[in-house]
């Protein structure tokens, strides 16, 4: 807390401000206007998302963060075209989107590699269903595998790979289609902490080197700050935008930045937004359950 007294998450160094100015000069890739979704449940209509508005510029890295039940997964699935919405508009390069299409690639938390295809054929899949010739698709797949560092595993099947490797293949598979935007739904959520850190660095490396815009969902605050240019903070019941934070941490980023004042200030702000102190209304269902643990051992037999 003492950090926030010296540095605010709103303070940007000159170089960071300059970067944001340049970023905002770029064309808008994704625009979400007044997006809302309601669905019928047993208890009547439920508003999952309400009046979501934001713009994403080309080659921007946006993270979406929010408490459980804020509809961040619903949002990304709507953007991917996998779910319907009730109101508003989703525009990609100014055109409204309809259903899933190759211009919006997606990486899922559960890898979703095709188990019957080798790593190389998984990466070729998107190209082949979009009528790229086999030899051309193979040549491109090799390049993408090179990019994610899995050339040696081209002929392995997914079940022979570790979680981190599977997610690299999934990223390569999505990128091979050369989408305008890459949607990532908690892609590193199932990985252990070490692999996760490696994958974050790797993803930044990829993002830096190719022309791709990334919308990344996570519930990990550190991950969001480490990766994002801007963080879209949602709140729950109904899911709506709470704040769009411009991350003041300079790039290129490394593990060093995790302890920098800008990083800590941003994290403090995110925590205040997502876990408000003594929340009255917007707390999750889990908080209602307060277990009453009875002493069931010898009273003198203490462990701490």
């Amino acid at each position: 807390m003492n950090m926030t007294t010296t540095v605010s998450y709103l303070d940007q160094s000159d170089s960071v401000r300059e970067r944001f100015d340049r970023l905002k000069q770029r064309e808008v890739v994704l625009e979400v206007k007044g997006l809302g979704k309601t669905y019928e449940s047993h208890q009547g209509p439920v508003t999952a998302l309400e009046d979501i508005n934001f713009k994403t510029h080309r080659r921007e890295f946006v993270c979406v963060i929010g408490p459980s039940g804020c509809g961040k997964s619903t949002l990304i699935r709507i953007l991917a075209g996998l779910e319907s919405y009730s109101s508003g508009q989703v525009l990609l390069d100014g055109e409204p989107v309809q259903g899933p299409c190759r211009d919006r690639g997606m990486v899922f938390q559960g890898y979703t590699l095709f188990p019957w295809l080798t790593v190389k054929k998984n990466v070729m899949f998107g190209l082949e269903v979009n009528d790229t010739g086999r030899t051309e698709a193979e040549a491109q797949a090799r390049q993408w595998l090179e990019l994610v560092g899995l050339s040696k595993f081209a002929d392995h099947y997914p079940h022979q790979l570790s979680g981190g490797m599977k997610q690299r293949v999934a990223i390569a598979r999505a990128l091979a289609n050369q989408p305008r935007i890459l949607l990532m739904d908690e892609p590193f959520g199932a990985l252990d902490a070490q692999t996760r850190a490696k994958m974050q660095n790797h993803l930044l490396e990829i993002w830096k080197n190719i022309d791709i815009t990334i919308l990344f969902i996570t519930h990990d605050l550190d991950e969001a700050i480490f990766l994002a240019d801007r963080i879209l903070v949602l709140k729950a019941h109904p899911g709506s935008v709470q704040e769009l934070i411009e991350v003041p941490v300079p790039r290129p980023r490394s593990a060093m930045h995790l302890t920098s004042p800008e990083f800590q200030a941003t994290k403090a702000r995110l925590e205040a937004l997502i876990h408000p102190p003594q929340a009255e209304s917007a707390h999750s269902e889990d908080d209602d359950v307060m277990p009453q643990v009875i002493r069931m051992t010898d009273v003198s037999d203490n462990v701490e």
Binding site: G81, L82, P100, F108, G110, F114, V129, N130
Partner: protein, 321 residues
């Protein structure tokens, strides 16, 4: 805690134990059969007459119940006449293992009782053809329909309620109808196997298709896969190993309909052989023929299982069977 011995819950078996237990599953029932056949004090409810004595209706080689034999012996003893002699025997319908084993060979070498009747190998070949065509015809429609039902809820709803109803109608009930429509030869037999297999097939395969992880379909859609290609490039390859396993099980069902099917119209195939042999009380041939069906069925299944492991190298559940 008990996870290393014979009763370890769901533990993988060592290759030696697998082999040993696999052989044991055949040896144990065989040993039971041997015990009943070769140990005179186990069961043997009859007496095989070796010397009729003075009992006027006894003949050498005749089998009578133990009680009858005892009563007659008693009667002869009281009358002071020659006693009959005999040894404990099982009824004629339970031949000993060695007799059946011998029949495996002699059944092929013995000419049929009737002149123009088929030899055993011809009967077996005919049965296999009936099974083959019944199963192929059923699969030609059943497999695609099952996949489509498992993919599109609307098509499933349009088909499945009727199929659910129809699968409860016993296939043999259509025997007379099939003969009236298709004649008395192989047509109605194939039809019975198709009726018995098809409706189960559609339901089993549509269920298998539904079990395909929906996330894979979503991933394919976000990669730009549309309609027909979604089926040909995701659904079909995705369910292929399970589909293959289903087909193996369904082929087993087709076999169970064979005997009833072959009784329809002119009796044919292995069923014809079995009924003929039973009529002449050659029960060792009957058992041999029944066992042959089992051996052929198991043989085909093992071959298909072996083939499946080569066809689907990515399928990890195959190795666990």
């Amino acid at each position: 805690m008990g996870q290393t011995g014979w009763f370890a819950v769901r533990a993988a078996l060592t290759p030696q134990r697998r082999l040993m237990l696999g052989i044991g599953s055949f040896v144990l029932p065989l040993m039971l059969w041997c015990a009943v056949s070769y140990l005179p004090f186990v069961w043997h409810p009859q007496v095989l007459i070796t010397q009729p004595g003075d009992v006027d209706y006894f003949q050498v080689g005749m089998r009578v119940d133990k009680d009858v034999f005892r009563d007659e012996s008693q009667a002869m003893k009281e009358a002071g006449k020659a006693l009959p002699m005999g040894e404990p025997a099982n009824p004629v319908y339970l031949p000993a293992p060695h007799e059946v084993l011998k029949a495996f060979y002699t059944a092929f070498t013995t000419p049929p009782e009737q002149k123009d009747a088929p030899w055993l190998h011809e009967s077996l070949w005919q049965s296999m053809q009936v099974i083959f065509w019944g199963f192929v015809l059923s699969s030609l429609i059943g497999v695609p329909l099952g996949i489509v039902c498992g993919t599109y809820s609307a098509i499933a709803r349009l088909n499945e309620p009727f199929i659910e109803f129809f699968r409860y109608l016993p296939a043999p009930a259509f025997g007379a109808l099939a003969v009236a429509i298709l004649g008395i030869h192989d047509g109605p037999k194939i039809a019975i196997i198709v009726i018995g297999t098809f409706f189960q097939q559609v339901l089993v395969i549509s269920n298998t298709t539904r079990k395909l992880d929906f996330a894979l379909l979503e991933a394919a859609m976000t990669l730009g896969t549309k309609r027909w290609r979604l089926i040909s490039r995701v659904v079909v390859p995705g369910i292929l190993p399970d589909l293959y396993r289903d087909q193996r099980v369904l082929l087993g069902w087709a076999w169970t309909y064979l005997i009833v099917a072959e009784l329809i119209g002119t009796s044919s195939g292995i069923t014809f052989f079995i009924t003929q042999q039973a009529r002449y009380q050659h029960f060792e041939n009957v058992y041999a023929a029944i066992a042959m069906i089992g051996i052929i069925g198991l043989g085909i299944d093992l071959t298909l299982a072996w083939l499946g492991r080569r066809l689907f190298p990515w399928d990890r559940s195959a190795g666990k069977q």
